[in-house]
């Protein structure tokens, strides 16, 4: 609705308050109906509050669940099968492959770069024949629903800049994250829950894990209302959600009714529309006090659904539990859910740590695909899985057939996508025999982000925000849509 028109309507409503004696018994229901179109527009199911008002083109995906593997999983031990490497065990990475590219200072002083073939068995799965390692049996079982992108690449070679880069389009702090761009562009689809929710899952891989940063779901220079809201497994699921001890919902409702009356009266006198917005926000806060516990209460989930996500699903904070919550959120039209799981930074003892880590993520991730498919929601829900870069074919530290470590490798890594208008049962992009260089169809992280926005109906070049004299966008001045993987 036209903001000026809306304001005028509200101003005429002031008469009600200023002329008639203010009735102190005006209840919340009456107030809710008076607080105007802004509050109820979301009831129509149409997104509200986005800068775009309408998508640039029809959206294939309405929602996104992004499973982020922080620390960078080894593509070599999970997806990018390199059988030839067996013969190369402990031989040096040829200079012709490395081509003098820069390495991190953790291995750049190593005297040798001995090849460490994956110790894990690979098989082809499904009609599509996708290669998946034995570490991910559940993921393998849904291979025909997945598009594996083996040719992801980035420029950053350390965690902080790399994860900041893939999440915000810049290696340096300060820019808005993917989810906040979506909220800014598309607004919200529901009136009871935040639009962009982040979960941080527990992990069992390497204990010493890379950090996350609030900036990864921050709003950067966008207004802070677009930042991701953390859904926590400890304490209040949403910060400050619970009433303090000694204050029950009735007492809170009574306080809010009084507050609305007093704020409404102030609005009638002062005319600042921000007061009106504040009234609406308190009402949303109140609704969240019910809707969030309802969201996180999984007691009504049938056993077969819980079984699908695996035994960890009932343990709060696990990856499986987070995946189930993600499904419950997208069902409630939360647009963007991102789950971060740490522990993938396996410089040494990789085989042991990655096995634990895969047990954490395999079943929950696969269950999301199955569960959404059964509910008919996979078609318009985009699921993404991956980390900030890949890992090296050469070994960091001691090497044996059974044990090895891998350093950071930005030049190629694997991510997967499912649903949301992405071609299922597909493998895209190729790397060389060493999984060191891309040989076919490179996909830069900007390309991936451009494609994600595209699936949500956004032209990544046209969703911009002017700041410090420049029209900023998620993909900076880069990004090409990966049309080959789109339905």
């Amino acid at each position: 609705m036209d903001p000026i028109l809306e304001h005028k309507q509200l101003m005429t409503r002031r008469h009600f308050f200023s002329k008639s004696a203010m009735n102190v018994s005006v209840g919340s229901a009456a107030l809710a109906s008076m607080t105007g179109p802004q509050l109820t527009a979301a009831d129509t199911g149409q997104p509200t509050g986005g800068i775009l008002h309408a998508p640039h083109f029809p959206a294939k995906a309405k929602r996104v669940i992004y499973l982020f593997m922080s620390g960078a999983p080894s593509q070599l031990d999970l997806f990018d099968h390199k059988p030839k490497m067996d013969e190369w065990y402990d031989k040096d990475l040829p200079d012709s492959v490395r081509q003098g590219q820069r390495l991190t200072t953790m291995t750049s002083k190593q005297k040798r770069f001995p090849i460490a073939p994956s110790k894990f068995k690979f098989q082809q799965h499904g009609n599509s024949g996708a290669w998946v390692s034995e570490l991910l049996p559940h993921t393998a079982s849904v291979a025909d629903d997945i598009c594996f992108i083996k040719s992801m690449h980035t420029e950053a070679i350390n965690h902080d800049p790399a994860i900041t880069y893939i999440q915000t389009g810049s290696q340096l702090p300060g820019r808005p994250s993917l989810g906040s761009w979506l909220s800014y562009g598309l607004g919200t689809m529901n009136r009871d829950l935040p639009d962009f929710v982040v979960l941080t899952a527990t992990w069992t891989g390497r204990k010493s894990a890379q950090a996350l940063y609030n900036r990864l779901w921050g709003a950067g220079f966008l207004p802070s209302k677009y930042q991701g809201v953390a859904l926590r497994s400890q304490g209040d699921p949403v910060l400050y959600l619970s009433n303090p001890p000694g204050v029950d919902p009735t007492a809170r409702r009574q306080m809010l009714d009084g507050l609305s009356q007093l704020n409404q009266k102030l609005y009638a006198e002062v005319g600042d529309p921000e007061i009106n917005t504040r009234i609406a926000q308190y009402e949303m806060a109140y609704r969240m006090q019910t809707s969030v516990p309802d969201l996180t209460d999984i007691s009504n989930e049938p056993k077969h659904v819980l079984d699908m996500y695996g035994p960890e699903v009932t343990k709060p904070g696990t990856f499986a539990a987070s995946c189930l919550l993600a499904r419950r959120m997208v069902e409630r039209d939360v647009r963007f859910v991102q789950i971060f799981i740490r522990g993938w930074d396996q410089h040494g003892s990789l085989p042991n740590d990655i096995s634990n880590q895969c047990r954490d993520v395999d079943q929950g991730g696969a269950a999301l695909i199955k569960d959404l498919k059964e509910r008919g929601m996979l078609d318009d829900t985009l699921i993404l899985w991956g980390g900030e870069f890949g890992r090296t074919i050469y070994c960091q530290g001691g090497l044996s057939r059974e044990n090895y470590g891998r350093d950071h490798h930005p030049r190629c890594f694997t991510m997967w996508a499912a649903g949301g208008g992405i071609k299922p049962g597909m493998t895209y992009g190729q790397t060389d025999d060493f999984s060191y260089n891309i040989t076919e169809n490179p996909v830069h992280i900007h390309d991936l982000n451009a494609t994600i926005l595209h699936q949500l109906g956004i032209d990544h070049e046209r969703l911009t925000y002017r700041y410090q004299g420049r029209d900023f966008r998620l993909t900076d001045v880069h990004g090409n849509i990966v049309n080959d993987i789109l339905l």
Binding site: S208, G246, T250, V270, Q281
Partner: protein, 1036 residues
Amino acid sequence: MNRFVAHFAIFSFLAFGSLCGSPAIAKEIDFNRDVRRILSDKCFTCHGPDGEQRQAGLRLDQQISAFAKLESGETAIVPGQPGESELVHRITTDDEFTQMPPPESEKQLTAAEIAILKQWISEGGKYQKHWSFITPTRPKVPTSDRAGFVRNPIDHFILKKLQETKLSPNPQASKETLIRRVKLDLTGLPPTIQEIDAFLQDDSPKAYEKVVDRLLSSPRFGEHMARYWLDAARYGDTHGLHLDNERAIWLYREWVIDAFNNNKPFDEFTIEQLAGDLLPNPTVDQKIATGFNRCNVTTSEGGSIAQEYLVRYAVDRVETTSTVFMGMTMGCAVCHDHKYDPFTMTDFYSMFAYYYSLTEKAMDGNALLPPPTMKVPTPEQQQQMEQYSTQIAALQKDIKEKLLAVEYTDPTPDASQELSREDFVWIEDEVPNGANPQGNTPWEFVSVEKKPVFSGKTASTRTAEGLSQHFFTDAKPLLTIGAEDMLFAYVYLDPENPPKEIMLQFNDGSWNHRAVWGDKNAIDWGELGTASRQYLGELPALGKWTRLDVPIAKVGLKAGSKLNGWAFTQFGGTVYWDKAGLNTITPQAGMQFESLARWDAVQRGLKGEGLPGNIANLIKIEPDKRNAAQQNQLKDYFLEKVYKGSQEIFGPLNTQLAALEKSKNELDQQIPSTLIMQDLKEKRQAYVLMRGEYDKPDENRPVEPNVPAFMPPLPEDAPKNRLSLARWLVSAEHPLTSRVTVNRYWQKFFGTGLVKTAEDFGSQGESPSHPELLDWLAVEFRESGWDIKAMQKLIVMSGAYRQSSVVDPQKYTTDPENRLLARGPRFRLDAEMVRDNALYLSDLLIERVGGKSVKPYQPKGLWNAVGYTNSNTANFTQDHGEALYRRSMYTFWKRTSPPPTMSIFDAPSREACTVRRERTNTPMQALALMNDIQFVEAARRYARRIMTEAGETDREKIVWAFRTATSRMPDEKEIQVIQKLLTTYREKYVQNPDQAQALLSVGESPREESLDVQQQAAWTMIANLILNLDETISKG
């Protein structure tokens, strides 16, 4: 046209039609006002300053190029002749192949824009420099008047614009509103009822000015001003990247507060922060000030490439400096010449060169104080340090004199004499040098008066229920083990309370070397029968000192093993331990000798291990190659520290000296330090970096430190350093610094700057709403001697500031953002103010300036959810007591997980420079204000005030509570609403005393026990309501 665009057009027409020159008005075109924006938005991408992107050789940002003949033979602009101008042809043609901007660029010109360009060309196509690059001169103050509105020159400018748009200003706000507004704006805190009443009663014409002057001299003023500055300076208490460990730079924050409180002129304020270290004989404070450019985020991530980060830090400093002082980021010019403003890459890297030669390391080492740093003792600390130094010097002198008196003849000058096997005592009365004592409970030493002691002055002891131990690690020098050596220790078991088992344990890097006596399995560490748990016999006799001997082979040690740690362990009982060490013939650092020659030989074998550096260096010289002075120095050291015969004299002196040095060292550790700037002696050569990449310096384009070429130049004799840069920024010719600064002050008071884009005064930024006023203020500021307090006062004394903020529909429709100021400012308090306000109203706020950052309440697990596991900020430990109630600007700022209530209310993360906060209105804010422990505790304490400080009746209490929070009297309706709620809550809590008790237990501050629990609970809910009122968290 979609809906959004339509609205936007209406808005911009209504708000700025008259500000920026309506296309419909056929008055003369002004390039800066009317044309630049069109060219910049629609044309500069391909025809602007960026040489790489330029098409057809045409440059429209410069007159000379725009008027010149093009490669094609055409001329873009023929002054006065639109018909001859190719530009006009191109923007009006329908031919898609020649049309400009190209149809696919989506930058189409509107009909109005085309009309402006045509009119501009027919009027001669006159160019002007971008307005903000022209040094401001003081404009004539317009003559307009309106009784009761005009208070000072500001108002004439405001009124002139209002009259042009047929708006009239609001009447002055009520005195209550006014004192609330000005106290919040100047100190960040609301007025008390006493302050309001005093102001209401003061009818003198100077009443308001008196309030303003009083507030400007409050220490709260400096804190409040500093808060804005710290956003710009990107101040934080952690490094910001990767581990995000703690950083100690809070002394800089204190410097900023003091600078504002002392009204340091803005030019000095600028110079000291950018280059205080380069001033002649800089004071401690001037160096602390340079922390400004040490606030940037830094990393120490394993694997990072140092050069990449040195470049990033310098880039950050250029961007911050240029944003804060010039309202320009220059950031675009890192990779290419600026597309819209005349910054070139050379300009950028010339600025970069100022910051490229610092002594800081690329990797911060995750240290609290990555160098360069400076210690800043308090006067008391300084005095104590000096006292220690004097005492130490006196002792050293004494030792020296006594040394002269020692007569020494080497008993065995033949150094080849074999050592005999003897006890080397490693542990006696204290742990060895440098060792780190630890244990289940601390080491306890007992002296001979009360307890058994075998030798020396004390023995260590421990009484335990079960397994217990004390131990140390990290001893230096290490204990060197020789073949067939025997470790030993003396033990005494209390006959009244004997242990079940005792154990000695040795650390050579691993603790897996254990010897046990008594029960074999009470202590179950290691594997019995191996070196990891070797059984050496029954418990020794009770009530007497016994020597325990441990053959090294039994516990898996061999010749060459070196111990750094030792543990005394017991299961139950009371045990005393005394001197312990190694029976050996292997020379040990720290051994005592009779013969200088022998000691010399032994030390040479040990390569001086454990000796002070200068002595170790002398030892390494062959004896016959030393000169006499060197030999004497060695001999003095020997006599003082090593010679058995003189230890009776020097032992106690050295012990005393060591104790003094230890105390001095401990005090030294307590003295706060802070990060400062320092240049390398030999500067690094800076180059233009191709595409901004750190590893692609363009060897053909070296750059020297310099200011942008299109701006006023540096004085010819100016040294090429930061001091010149800082002085240039505050020079009279500088077109930007004063404008940018007064604009931020304006923004602080009115919510929006005269230039809305406070961070961008370039051609892509918004034009000023009142250009003459901006220039007038800028010149006034500079000519006042950069007097910050005077500028604050000038603004708050204006009639524009003093208006009522009530908005009627007509005014709102005409000017929704209040850019024309036909009403006073009204907006929500900033994050810090929201919290400080609640603490202040509830009488919890600690009003003390400065100090280290504190950790008030925050929900559990926030740091842990994101922190690197080994970071020293991975786990949040909340403070207690006063630390919970300090002003929010002292809250510890972890940049990768900032204080949640600050972020929720729009505080930036402080990872990058921010000069303008957004102001949002969200449900998260409502939840925080209703439920955060800090705000609930504040409500509880506010209730206490209501019950004890207000009058007797409910009505009096309600009025007091409402008025204290909102600064105005409630009316009947408001009192009714609150009274009704109060009744409801009273009933509720009388019926549910447990709930009342629960509510009153929120927060750590004590409850007033004399107050009735149910009553206070009911009032707490009323206080919670009042603290959540829009009016309580807004200035109106």
